[in-house]
């Protein structure tokens, strides 16, 4: 039995597609939002004249002007808080934190203000704010520039946490997030920006409450999100050649988690491996594992396994960084181990 888990998977039909990168899809999403709603504006370090540290907002300053494409001083707490305040009084800010590594400086505003204001005020106020940030390792940026904390942020009630891993989601999640009355964090994994593919010409909003099955399979469920989706899909393809048929679930939204999609798939395949770029202990992969056990314990044929990032501040040297992160080979090894073990 299988439930439809997402409307985000585009069906191969007669739609016109354009070739573009994840970065361009993101930029198109911002442009669309700016055109569609005058209350939307973009604010963050170097989003304007520099064009965005990952070039996502390149060209937007010229198109929309400095009132709506706001370069901020280096002051993460102030400008994230400013986004919260502006949202409170009716604007629809998109705040860009250059990378998740710097978001710690704004965490008080995110956790103690953005995530609590609706509840603390008894529902009188809401914070329709979108915070975008780049996340992840893999570019030899070492210990202070390689965090993957999206799963960690998913711990916080009051927030929604999105991790677009496909062009459709890069293109479509922002608008849905902006329509949401509550603060939404969008994590863009840095290794995805140059990912290229075909995107339907009329690609638009996607829903954000369901996980997506990115590959159907019967033997085991691989569960992942964000930057590790491509690696996981590759592992699944290579495992297919070994006659191990994996289902691949892209969580898409880390908060709230789509428990149904996970439990339904694992109940059918009876095995699960969670792939997560977060540090292992206390990562979202642990939560996924716990929910599988809570929801599908009696269907499981082997323990849920996890492929996570080693518990080290990410080292600079390439071979060590590679060894620290989930890789196609380590994913494959975990799958083989799961399939080999039996209750």
């Amino acid at each position: 039995m299988e439930t439809p888990v997402s409307t985000a998977v585009s069906t191969p039909d007669a739609r016109v597609t354009v070739r573009c990168t994840y970065r361009e899809a993101m930029r198109a999403a911002i442009r669309e939002a700016m055109h569609r709603d005058p209350r939307v504006f973009l604010m963050g370090e170097d989003v304007g004249r520099y064009g965005g540290s990952f070039a996502v907002s390149m060209g937007l300053l010229a198109e929309f002007g400095p009132e709506r494409i706001r370069d901020t001083p280096l002051s993460e707490s102030a400008f994230v808080g400013a986004g919260i305040g502006a949202a409170l009084v009716g604007m629809r800010p998109i705040v860009e934190i250059m990378t998740v590594n710097f978001s710690l400086l704004a965490l008080d505003q995110i956790l103690n203000n953005a995530a609590t204001l609706s509840h603390m005020s008894g529902g009188q106020f809401s914070v329709p704010l979108v915070i975008r940030m780049t996340t992840g390792a893999g570019r030899q940026l070492a210990a202070q520039h390689s965090h993957s904390l999206e799963g960690w942020y998913a711990h916080i009630p009051g927030l929604k946490v999105l991790t677009p891993a496909t062009l459709e989601d890069a293109r479509g999640m922002l608008w849905t997030a902006l329509e949401d009355p509550d603060p939404v964090l969008i994590f863009e994994n840095g290794v995805l920006y140059n990912m290229e593919g075909d995107l339907p010409d009329d690609a638009g909003p996607v829903e954000i409450s369901h996980a997506a099955v990115r590959r159907h399979g019967d033997d085991l469920t691989l569960i992942t999100y964000g930057g590790t989706l491509p690696k996981t899909l590759e592992a699944a393809e290579r495992l297919a050649k070994e006659d191990i048929d994996c289902e691949v679930i892209d969580l898409r939204t880390l908060r709230p988690l789509d428990t149904d999609a996970i439990v339904t798939s694992v109940s059918r395949t009876t095995r699960a491996v969670v792939v997560d770029e977060g540090w292992r202990s206390g990562s979202i992969s642990a939560e996924v594992s716990a929910r599988i056990v809570e929801g599908a314990f009696y269907r499981l044929d082997s323990p849920v396994l996890r492929v996570c990032t080693a518990e080290v501040p990410i080292p600079y040297a390439k071979h060590l960084e590679d060894a620290a992160l989930p890789q196609v080979e380590t994913i494959m090894a975990a799958v083989r181990q799961s399939v080999a073990s039996d209750g």
Binding site: I84, V89, H119
Partner: protein, 337 residues
């Protein structure tokens, strides 16, 4: 201007004041004072719980600031905000019910004393992280400006908040973007048990504002007329060309929260400041002007007592939210317009 702890804070008639308005100011201060005195009793009866930070001694600020603002000017406050809330016009019933944890409270019983909120009066809380309201206020100001609302966002914070990084980031951002934010520092000389001299290398908050090119003024926060006058001038300036800061020199007569052993200051110091109690000096001034006598004062006191009694009755009669509603409001129930 800076008020040394020793020098008496003279009530300067900085602006001519009508009898009617003067009595309104007195009433506003007295209402806060009496309200909080009753809160103390209610706290010892455990009918109010959690943290309770009293504003007693500082009433001249809330009472003087609010009339100088317009009704659509947003307010961002701290956890010591009963005075701000009442002077702003949040109904006393709703404030009391909030502290009783009732659904009829201004935050639905979810916030308590530290988190009073009220959409009707644009009162954006009640923030209990020191300095945490400043970024919010800057954002409110930004949002108002971008929507051309021509309001002034009033941001209250204590002397303790001045040392936090947020103060710096926010004053800079507000000045850089010329945001319509009025920074109101309630300098009561202490952050919990830490005297300002042990918290700031340079205790002159107005001097700090200068580092951001923000015009600032120090004002006797025990003088309600001076407060109102300064606020009116500053708010005008903000409405026209960006942020201003006022440092109000004031004093809290009570413990930081409900209990603290007050090891950090002497009884004499507290007593010295009693001479500047606005609820002593202002009535005296009004009597001298012939605006106030025993009869009229008693009438005001009575009115206030009646209001407080009613508020307690209202809060008492209020309902507790069903436990099944626990997770309400974590996410908003309606999509925004």
């Amino acid at each position: 201007m800076s008020i040394p702890a020793q020098a008496p804070g003279q009530v300067a008639a900085t602006s001519p004041v009508s009898k009617e308005h003067a009595l309104e100011l007195l009433r506003s201060m007295l209402r806060i004072r009496r309200f909080e005195e009753r809160c103390v009793e209610l706290y010892s009866e455990a009918r109010i719980r959690g943290f309770l930070h009293l504003y007693i001694g500082e009433e001249a600020i809330a009472a003087g600031v609010m009339p100088a603002l317009q009704s659509d000017d947003p307010i961002v406050s701290t956890y010591r905000e009963h005075g701000h809330a009442l002077a702003r016009g949040i109904p006393m019933n709703a404030v009391m019910a909030e502290m009783f944890g009732k659904v009829q409270g201004c935050s639905h019983g979810r916030g308590g004393s530290m988190h009073l909120f009220d959409a009707a009066t644009r009162f954006y809380g009640g923030s209990a992280i020191v300095g945490g309201g400043l970024p919010l206020a800057v954002g409110v100001g930004l949002g108002e400006l971008m929507q051309q609302r021509h309001t002034v966002t009033a941001s209250f914070f204590g002397d303790g908040a001045v040392a936090e990084g947020e103060f710096h980031e926010c004053l800079n951002l507000a000045a850089l973007w010329k945001l319509p934010v009025l920074f109101l520092c309630e300098n009561n000389r202490y952050a919990m048990g830490t005297a300002i001299e042990r918290a700031l290398a340079n205790v002159d908050v107005t001097a700090k504002a200068a580092a951001y090119n923000i015009a600032a003024e120090a004002v006797d926060g025990m003088d309600v007329l001076a407060v109102e006058d300064a606020t009116r001038r500053a708010a005008d300036a903000v409405r026209n060309d960006g942020p201003r800061l006022i440092e109000f020199h004031t004093y809290r007569y009570r413990a930081h929260s409900m209990y603290d052993p007050e090891l950090y200051r002497s009884k004499e110091e507290v007593e010295r400041w009693r001479d500047y109690d606005p609820l002593v000096t202002f009535p005296a001034q009004l009597r001298a002007l012939g605006y106030l006598d025993d009869v009229s004062l008693t009438a005001i006191e009575h009115e206030i007592a009646v209001e407080i009694d009613a508020a307690i009755a209202y809060a008492d009669a209020g309902t507790l939210e069903p436990v099944s509603d626990l997770t309400r409001f974590v996410y908003s129930e309606t999509r925004p317009a």
